[in-house]
């Protein structure tokens, strides 16, 4: 784009004005405040201001026993609630040395991948809506409705789940779930053709997204970007492959990677990831073992003193739970490393020099969930 020399805050330039892409805005996904300094339509500097939805999850963790933190985990990132649930249970199980039965692991993987599909559907379609096409948003929600129905039949909730427990899962899945999931996968594969025709091939969409919002590889690594934003810039890093956990080593799936690093690349990575998730689900359904779904765990657990870090891959990137226990029933500290925090701040480096319309496209393509930033 244009060659902009950086202007520091103390310089007075009468052409530069300040615009609040404010906390209340139709297209920042949540209460995000982006302070833009603009020269006409070109962005000079971008400064995200976070903290508007701080709810104190990590402080709440210091006042509740280990089991009582489970509902909190779903609400940190409400779009990947099951994945965060699973991660917390696995972190505590790692610290206590609890063995999870294999059927429970498979169920966890299936439900987490379904959650990943629903999160990607929402993220992609909300991004397309920001660009201006309103209808693919509703087509995506129609598909998402089917996923939520499937998950509701098993877990009972649609958005914020509290389904995993220490040692396994709460309810068992039945044959109807497996059939419904397979039907859904076939249906979604048929719908990809419609999305391809309506969005990906559309010349206006291509013009809006190709070459826009490029995150160079070094910048991405410098800021700690993870998830589809990193894989769209050429780095093949996925926690499920590089630091495998649960039964993921048993499945054959690929990590889609694109080299360009622009908005179109991230969009394509997300669409391809949905396909890979469907492959994982199919393999898991084929190989589902019989057995118990929950290990025998005391009612209120007493973990040994010590700390533990466990990383896993949510729909947005690599999440980490750092758990410190002092031997009692109440955690000493739970720290959650969320991917949206690092992903958002890469905007301070890549936005200057672009137009406002590109700002919105880039922000949408990074797929930020603001409550995850503020916890």
């Amino acid at each position: 784009m244009l060659n902009i020399k950086t202007i520091d805050d103390t310089s007075i330039n009468e052409r530069v004005y300040q615009l609040n892409l404010g906390p209340q805005h139709p297209s920042t996904h949540g209460v995000l405040h982006l302070l833009l300094k603009l020269d006409g339509e070109v962005v000079i500097s971008a400064d995200p201001i976070v903290g508007y939805s701080h709810r104190g999850h990590e402080k709440m963790a210091e006042n509740r026993i280990w089991e009582q933190f489970l509902p909190n985990t779903s609400r940190i990132d409400y779009l990947s609630g099951l994945i965060y649930n699973q991660g917390y249970c696995m972190a505590v199980e790692k610290m206590c040395g609890i063995e999870v039965p294999e059927r429970a692991e498979y169920i966890r993987v299936i439900t987490s991948e379904l959650n990943r599909i629903s999160s990607h559907l929402l993220g992609i379609m909300a991004f397309v809506m920001d660009i201006g096409a309103f209808t693919p948003f509703l087509y995506g929600w129609d598909d998402r409705e089917h996923v939520l129905d499937i998950l509701e039949r098993v877990t009972g909730s649609r958005l914020t789940y509290c389904y995993n427990r220490f040692g396994g899962v709460r309810n068992d899945i039945d044959q109807e779930f497996c059939d419904g999931t397979r039907r859904f996968i076939d249906r979604l594969r048929g719908r990809f053709k419609d999305y391809h025709n309506l969005i990906t091939e559309n010349i206006i969409f291509i013009k809006r997204t190709r070459g826009v919002g490029i995150i160079p590889e070094e910048t991405a690594l410098e800021f700690g970007v993870t998830g589809p934003s990193l894989r769209g810039s050429g780095v093949a890093y996925d926690v499920r492959k590089n630091e495998p956990y649960s039964v993921y080593p048993g499945f054959k799936f690929e990590i889609p990677v694109r080299k360009e690093g622009d908005v179109m690349a991230r969009y394509q990575v997300r669409m391809a990831e949905m396909e890979q998730s469907m492959k994982i689900i199919e393999q898991a359904l084929d190989g589902l073992p019989q057995g118990p779904i929950r290990a025998r765990v005391p009612r209120f657990i007493d973990p040994p003193a010590g700390d533990c870090y466990f990383a896993f891959e949510s729909a947005r990137g690599a999440v980490g739970y750092y758990i410190v226990s002092d031997g009692t029933r109440i955690p000493y500290r739970i720290k959650v490393r969320t991917p949206s925090f690092s992903n958002l701040f890469v905007l301070t480096r890549i936005l200057p020099g672009n137009f406002i319309a590109d700002t919105i496209a880039t922000l949408g393509s990074i797929d930020v969930v603001v409550p995850e930033i503020d916890r």
Partner: protein, 332 residues
């Protein structure tokens, strides 16, 4: 045929003058028709948008939601008309007025049927173009007077966009005008009694439709009021009846653009069995349906791409089309 040649005018014109009575009756009919038409179009847009998006649209108020716009209009009229404290009060008040009056005036020359045209002017098309250019002035006034950065950005974009897309609009219309040698809308309609002009001028038709979509600030050229970026653009600060006037003006402009398209390219009121008025209305509403359909399908163009598209693609193609038409008319 003109409205003042109808038989009963002779009885009622009295000492006022035939033309004045005809004009007054015509304007009254238009003033009744315009709000009803806009209300109907809002309902049509919401229903079409709903069915494209797999949902039914308004269904509660009236059968299938037909009275929804009426209820919305009552709601808008009952809301407070807020003026921001540091706004330029005169321009803020004036902007919605200036956007609706030219739209109503343009109806004067549209030939709804062989006998229904309020005034037959020999510069009919020129009148419509000049009055619809006034919308740019109103948008700029609204955006500037609001004292709001979002509104200002929207207004500035609107000025550049409208000025840029006027030119291909005029050039494509010129291709039709040199074929019929007249600016009168009724003569252009009469000249299409055998073959519609879209058969002779498909390129001009496409350019015309793209340009009118850009002129009326509809998607995919609606960066001016892009909801996801600018929170409503130039009418961010307008509430109540003022917002209703902007809204009304948008749909009225859409009707005028579609009726111009019907007159220039699709034969106006010509058609086999039904009277002319019904064919005209059908054609106009089919074109409006296409405009609505396009809005809900495509994403928005970015602003520099929009301007590049106008200056580097549309204008050369329109000029080329005009030159080829002129050469062919001379040769054939």
């Amino acid at each position: 045929m003109n409205i003042n040649q109808l038989p009963f005018i002779n009885e009622i014109y009295g000492f006022l003058g035939r033309d004045l009575v005809a004009a007054v009756i015509g304007i009254l009919i238009i003033l009744v028709f315009v709000p009803l038409n806009s209300a109907f179009l809002v309902w049509v847009e919401r229903k079409v948008a709903g069915h494209i998006q797999l949902r039914p649209g308004p269904m509660e108020v009236g059968p299938h939601g037909i009275l929804q716009t009426l209820v919305d209009a009552v709601k808008l009229m009952s809301k407070e008309m807020i003026t921001p404290k540091l706004a330029d009060k005169f321009l803020f008040w004036l902007a919605p007025i200036i956007i609706i009056i030219p739209a109503i005036v343009c109806f004067v020359v549209i030939p709804f049927s062989p006998i229904m045209q309020v005034r037959e002017m020999n510069v009919g098309i020129l009148l419509i173009f000049s009055f619809s250019s006034l919308t740019v002035l109103s948008i700029l006034m609204g955006g500037w007077a609001s004292n709001n950065k979002y509104a200002l950005i929207g207004a500035v974009r609107a000025v550049a966009q409208n000025v840029a897309y006027e030119i291909p609009l005029l050039l494509s219309t010129m291709s039709i005008i040199i074929m019929t040698n007249s600016f009168k809308m009724s003569e252009i309609t009469a000249a299409q009694s055998t073959v519609w002009f879209i058969v002779y001028q498909p390129v001009a038709a496409i350019i015309f439709f793209i340009s009118t979509t850009a002129e009326t600030n509809r998607a995919p050229f609606d960066l001016v009021e892009a909801e996801s970026e600018l929170v409503s653009g130039f009418h961010t600060e307008y509430t109540g009846m003022r917002f209703a006037l902007f809204f009304l003006a948008e749909y009225t402009n859409m009707f005028i653009a579609a009726s111009m398209g019907a007159v220039l390219f699709f034969g106006g009121w010509h058609g086999p069995f039904f009277p002319g008025l019904i064919w005209f209305v059908i054609k106009v509403y089919v074109l409006i349906f296409v405009i609505i359909w396009v809005r809900w399908t495509f994403p928005r163009l970015r602003f520099d791409q929009l301007m590049n598209f106008a200056w580097k693609f549309m204008i050369p193609v329109a000029m080329l089309n005009l030159m080829i038409t002129a050469v062919l008319l001379k040769v054939l």
